[in-house]
Amino acid sequence: MTADNKQRVYQEPFLEEMFERLHHHKVSQKDYTGLADMLNPIEALADSASLGLDFNDEPADFLRILNEVKYRGSGR
């Protein structure tokens, strides 16, 4: 995949097919373009961030870390 295509993962025909097949939902071409414009930069950054995931990671780890690093007074 070229760098340009990677930046444009979401293109109008892809979104149109996905919306129709998965969501039984159809919107205008202008809307597909607007959705793609918003989705592509998010997707590029989220894709790059996903490289940091490990096999055993799961969403519930967040609550464990939230409690582990909680504030216990100045200078901790």
Partner: protein
């Protein structure tokens, strides 16, 4: 100065004390607020509904309780109003939307139950961004809410009416919700204090959801002490919300006034890669000078890049919002405003794996942020919004191509804090050359709300931004 203004200029704590002592009655204060709302509503449009009759009845009941000598709650007889998304059994709750404009909930939210138990009076439902989606505060269905510091400017959102009504001296405090900055942004743009607590610190039960992983409810007030009082009432475990934390609630109000000498405040001179306007950067510098006078040590830190965190946060919010709205997106699509529909609809195209990755990465990012920031300092100072409030016409962009950059401008500093799940207190930090408020946020470790209130209260001892009052009437 007339009596209406004198009473409505008091802080929440002063009003609560005055009602308790019998200096004035709750009915007197409530009627003054209602008179002022009557004058201000055509200018600010910050209320969706005004419950005049119920408010006066509630105030009369509160006054009888004062006369009886019964034990009074800490908000006894104090008029508040809330973003129109906190359910109260039998009362309409629109969520700022056309779709829910006639929704009557059959149960009451925990935050409203707790405020009522503390004696607060509600004057009505406040304007907000449709479905709490949008940092500006525009609303196509109920009309735009305006900023009392200059009604041509936005109050910020999504808790726009909460910011506008409290800054406009119409009520003494208001609840908002914060999924990406929606308490802190209007607080900053309207010259108020706003607290977004640690994820799970305040029960979400009975509040309209936008994103169940990131939604936080919190107060907007004029002073830090006022904010601490409301937060003390609403925070804590709740059997109705299993995601509410069981962590013990600290004394938030009692800490206000205690010195902060020796506390370490972190500053990232690159602001995580998002540069604020020179006026906001200057407000941060001045705030650091104030903290130095208070004996605080300033420490340089390097935050992780904010753009990546904003993207991950967006993946979660959009996926969860699309899940909640999916049925209406297909059956009642035209009843959404185009911008809100666009922001929710993108979630339909995000794969489940991407969503779960964004959730699973939260622990990594929180650990990394903790090492980079909180291993070196107790709290981080950041702009709340990188610029003063834009005009409403400047923000009238609908679902156009400018939408992503506008969202980055307004939520770039706030949204990552929701992703980390950290508490943050936005505090007034000065004014722009054009007289618009500027805000800073203090971000703490998980469950460090007490420290943030302590720091904010000390900051307000040496500053007077919160005493300035907009002259819009």
């Amino acid at each position: 100065m007339n009596k209406v203004k004198e009473l409505t200029d008091l802080t929440l704590i002063e009003v609560a004390a005055g009602i308790k002592k019998g200096t004035f009655s709750s009915e007197e204060v409530t009627r003054h607020c209602l008179t002022r709302i009557d004058q201000a509503q055509p200018i600010l449009n910050c209320f969706i509904s005004i419950d005049q009759e119920a408010a006066i009845k509630g105030a009369q009941k509160a006054d009888k309780k004062v006369a009886s000598g019964d034990k009074l709650g800490v908000l006894h007889g104090v008029p508040l109003a809330h973003k129109d998304m906190f359910y109260k059994k039998g009362n309409r709750s629109t969520g700022g939307s056309k779709i829910q404009k006639d929704f009557i909930p059959s149960y009451t939210s925990t935050v409203i139950n707790r405020l009522e138990a503390a004696g607060a009076i509600s004057l009505g439902g406040l304007n907000m961004s449709e479905f709490a989606s949008g940092p500006v505060g525009q609303n196509l269905h109920f009309g735009d809410c305006r900023n009392p510091w200059n009604p041509k400017h936005a109050p910020g959102g999504s808790s726009s009416g909460s910011g506008s009504a409290v800054a406009g001296r119409l009520v003494f405090g208001a609840l908002g919700s914060d999924t990406g900055g929606s308490v802190r942004i209007p607080a900053a743009l309207c010259g108020l204090v706003g607290m977004k607590g640690t994820q799970g610190r305040v029960s979400r039960y009975g509040g309209m959801p936008l994103s169940f992983s990131l939604d936080c409810f919190g107060p907007l007030t004029r002073t830090v002490n006022d904010c601490a009082r409301i937060f003390s009432v609403i925070a804590g475990p709740d059997k109705m919300d299993p995601t509410a934390s069981l962590t013990e609630v600290d004394d938030y109000e009692g800490i206000c006034g205690k010195p902060i000498e020796g506390i370490r405040v972190g500053i990232d001179l690159h602001y995580g890669g998002i540069e604020p306007s020179p006026e906001v950067a200057s407000a941060i510098d001045k705030a650091l000078e104030v903290f130095k006078k208070l004996g605080v040590t300033i420490v340089e830190v390097t935050m992780p890049d904010q753009d990546e965190l904003n993207a991950l946060s967006n993946v979660i919010t959009r996926s969860e919002a699309a899940t909640l709205h999916k049925k209406w997106l297909t059956t009642r699509r035209n009843e959404y405003s185009p911008q809100v529909r666009r922001r929710i609809e993108i979630g339909l195209a995000i794969p489940a794996t991407r969503y779960l990755e964004a959730l699973s990465l939260r622990s990594h990012h929180l650990s990394r942020f903790n090492e980079a920031v909180f291993e070196k300092c107790d709290a981080l100072i950041l702009p709340t919004v990188g610029e003063p409030s834009p005009t409403l016409s400047e923000l009238d962009i609908g679902d156009s191509k400018e939408l992503p950059s506008m969202l980055r401008r307004l939520t770039g500093y706030t949204r990552p804090v929701n992703y980390y799940g950290l508490p943050a207190l936005s505090v007034p930090a000065g004014f722009s050359k054009t007289g618009l408020p500027l805000g800073i946020q203090l971000v703490g470790r998980p469950f460090a709300e007490q420290l943030l209130f302590q720091m904010g209260a000390e900051f307000q001892k040496l500053t007077d931004h919160h005493f300035q009052s907009p002259d819009y009437l």
